[in-house]
Symmetry: C3
Subunit: 207 residues, 3 copies
């Protein structure tokens, strides 16, 4: 089950990379690299920072095959990719829930502090997109509209609260995963974002 969600999440992330790369008029190699970095970048950064090397995609070929197949398919059907927006959004949201939990678990295995574990979870879920945006020479989207990251952080906090209450670990995973997914869905549905720190300024500057 976890495995299938992981694959679906990888596919969604890879497609989002393909779309940005197409938009930047990259060639086939560029598109593949951007898709790859978007799908694996967060987990790769996590593995490098905790020293869990070779990084995860080097020892499990599934990721490479899935991303390769996704990229080729996405380029071929690119004119029709709009129809996939809704399922992609769902996979993507479920994917960040799962990625966050994987990152938290890796931190726990190393005996790190809960705050560090939550950071690792958020990093796993969100930094693929950050690396994608850096490679595409744009300010990371997530630093402007952070629904993603807030959902991961709150899910991570509930994970450790439930753990304090000695809830069964399968339930902890389930509940905190559902919390991340629900927050993301609600935030997008009701256009919730973080309180604006610029509210005392007269007008917004368009960058």
């Amino acid at each position: 089950m976890f495995y299938i969600i992981d694959i679906l999440g990888t596919i969604s992330f890879a497609i989002s990379g393909v779309l940005v790369a197409l938009n930047k008029r990259m060639d086939a190699f560029g598109i593949l690299i951007i898709a790859f970095v978007t799908a694996t970048g967060g987990g790769m950064l996590r593995d490098v920072l905790i020293g869990d090397t070779p990084v995860f995609w080097m020892t499990n070929m599934t990721y490479v095959y899935v991303i390769l197949a996704t990229t080729i398919s996405a380029v071929i059907i690119k004119r029709k990719i709009d129809y996939l927006k809704t399922p992609m959004f769902m996979f993507d949201t479920i994917g960040i829930g799962l990625y966050t939990l994987v990152g938290i678990q890796k931190g726990i295995n190393l005996g790190l502090h809960p705050i560090i574990c939550i950071s690792l979870g958020t990093m796993s879920a969100c930094f693929g997109g950050v690396l994608r945006d850096i490679l595409c020479n744009q300010i990371p989207v997530i630093f402007r509209k952070e629904v993603y990251a807030t959902a991961c952080i709150l899910g991570g906090v509930s994970f450790f609260l439930l753990r304090k209450l000695h809830v069964d670990s399968n339930f902890i995973y389930l509940i905190s995963g559902v919390i991340i997914i629900t927050i993301r869905l609600l935030a997008v549905r009701f256009k919730i974002s973080l309180p604006n720190v610029y509210k005392d300024d007269v007008e917004e500057i368009n960058l």
Copy 2:
């Protein structure tokens, strides 16, 4: 003592990150990440390149708490942050002196060549700002006006010269730290910068 300087340096670096992020109209999450990367990025890169993982801020929670508190405070008082310019400049300058020494020491512990140790020191002190600028999608400031880096390199060179002379190690730290701080202060005071490699060109191009 070292510990207090480290904290003050971290605070100064974090505030510089907050200011750049505010300037780029980032949201709360973006501001926090930029503050964090500015304060820890140099040491984090150093730890990754030498394989000292999990990286330093994962095993000592002080950094996380200090940066979190600094970021929140800086956002709240952002209109008055100008008054802090002078103390911040001092902490920041003392901070780079200390960060350079920490980097050099880590290199020595691994038995690396003095030039590599000096690189690690300079990296610790300067690459937080480089990563901040990359995440904010601008050419790193330090590659244009490098007072910072030159001070770190010269301080590192004097560190190893004094070591050759078998000076007591406490003195070595003290003297080379003071050299870095003095060069930086003098350079800023007298607007010294590296000799211009473009001097044979008729005019500067504004980028």
Copy 3:
């Protein structure tokens, strides 16, 4: 022999870094860092991702000396660097052949899958330029015109095909190195690039 090619490749990569940095009006420190990252970045990323730390240039001072000397020379003769275009192109091409083989060999030593080894080889040869472009705040050239990367990938594929055929390992190195070099030369000579995924669009957007 390998050693000399490695040095010549490093020199060519460093010069390409100097040229981009000069073009961005960087100061002496910026130029040095860009030259260094262009020459070592691919191998450095490879070493970090597989956990082979401290990264290669920290334990063999040759790279540091060569890049330092190259950068200083390149800045001094910068007005005449045009005359070096042809030999530089040759060193550079031979260099990517060699870098690819070094990356592949490191992957094999770790028992990684051939596809991962080929990725490591391509990364070693191509990601110095990617990091250079990120530091210079531009979309990586290689994601737009990928002659480089395709040559590395095809060379890597032939490496493993020859290995399957139990060819003597010295020959495998020689032949796949020559394949990489030949594809690159032919591609540049006959302006071959990857099939354009945008061919169904009416016009190209100039970014």
